[in-house]
Symmetry: C2
């Protein structure tokens, strides 16, 4: 099933969706950008797509309108966008509830949230991107399922309240794990040590964690309740109070969750 | 260069060192365990090794004695062990300084700290295990380098003070990343959601982090300083004060380290 789709936004998610959906055989009719130059940069990568800097889509041939803008701009865009009859308006955010689209001119609304960390210069392997779907009515949900299937992505139907929980979990699993590695890197660099030394440990720990589950995979001074080492590490980190407090708090949480 | 080696300890590190060193052509003369049955369980995996529950090694043919016991037992073992002339006594800990072996009967002392998270039922790929070496004298250091080369492991010469910093960094990079994933899993399970959904994100984030470095790889609400989402997530976590505080503190640290 092929759709005509308009993309509202010019960021990473807009780029990956528009190029991948076109590759999957859909037609991208328009790309909207507040900054027309940015919209043109994206449409130049597409086969035959108009760039526009206004939200009047009443003449558009599209059936599905994908809002891929910053979270705090979604409701504003939804309120302002003018859509043809019988259109489906979806956003792509993990945090914004479906209801935010409720005041728009769209007859059908939904959410298509790709649970993945996108970068402009990395190819997206859609087979490995879980997409969280939500829609106000079953017909729309069924169309959105068909849409994401054309990308070979896995999908999960998740309500707004649960999608928010997934987003919080994703922050811990992705942004916060990344920051733990950032802190490790800084400790190494401050001491004049080679960060490369730590990389095999990270790879082994993560693969063990995904294989055995994080509870069974845990090791280290906190899980052993080795108070002497915890105290020694805490002292080492006194050069940065915030870091010392992060160390203390996470160690305590590891101890508490044994 | 082949060595005769005695292993003091029966834990994960003792198991992996003794079996791997034997495979590499060295002779494991004795294994010491406070619990003789545990020492026998390990020697039963080895070609021709005696199990013993006393620390008198004066009759041992070994030249290198590897202490692989809990950190807080190392100094006690080092003080009690009786060694033949000209022996090298090493421990395998990331946190305990070399000097702790200074009161032992060993003529030469050193540290052989494998910077990896070992599990009993996972094979160790030594090529991917950085080993941190330290020794009191250059001859001993040279012998320890030869020893770890037979395992095909990479080695780094690191002083006690720096080794402690590496250990703190390793706790962040390994134990704390694992715990962030543990928290993510619990948020998902509490909501009745499938933890599998998050796994592709973890894999992509870690590979991006190792490829681009953690600073460039960071995304998410804290790095965007999206205060509305941070506040919303913090509210979501109010069911567990400690978790809410971990969220707040790490987000603040991400903001501060932009």
């Amino acid at each position: 099933m092929k759709f005509k789709i308009a993309i509202i936004g010019t960021g990473k998610v807009a780029w990956h969706f528009s190029t991948s959906l076109e590759n999957a055989g859909h037609i991208i009719t328009e790309v909207y950008g507040r900054d027309l130059a940015k919209a043109r940069r994206l449409t130049s990568q597409l086969y035959d797509t108009d760039a526009q800097d206004h939200l009047d889509f009443t003449e558009s041939a599209a059936e599905i309108f994908i809002v891929a803008v910053a979270d705090d701009a979604i409701s504003e865009v939804a309120d302002a966008v003018l859509l043809p009859e019988n259109s489906i308006l979806v956003h792509t955010s993990g945090t914004v509830p479906l209801e935010v689209l409720g005041y728009s001119s769209a007859e059908h609304t939904g959410v298509v949230y790709p649970l993945q960390s996108f970068s402009l210069h990395r190819t997206v392997t859609w087979e490995e991107v879980p997409i969280l779907l939500e829609a106000e009515d079953p017909d729309t949900l069924s169309k959105l399922k068909k849409l994401v299937k054309t990308l070979s992505a896995q999908h999960y139907v998740v309500r707004s309240k649960d999608r928010n929980a997934v987003h919080v979990a994703a922050v811990f699993a992705s942004n916060f794990t990344n920051h733990m590695i950032r802190i490790a890197e800084e400790i190494m660099l401050r001491q004049g040590l080679d960060f490369e030394m730590i990389k095999p440990l990270i790879i082994e720990q993560i693969s063990k964690c995904l294989e055995l589950g994080p509870k069974a995979a845990q090791t280290g001074p906190a899980s052993r309740e080795d108070m002497e080492t915890l105290e020694n590490h805490h002292l080492f980190l006194q050069y940065n109070d915030q870091l010392a407090e992060i160390y203390r708090l996470i160690s305590q949480d590891i101890i508490d969750s044994q």
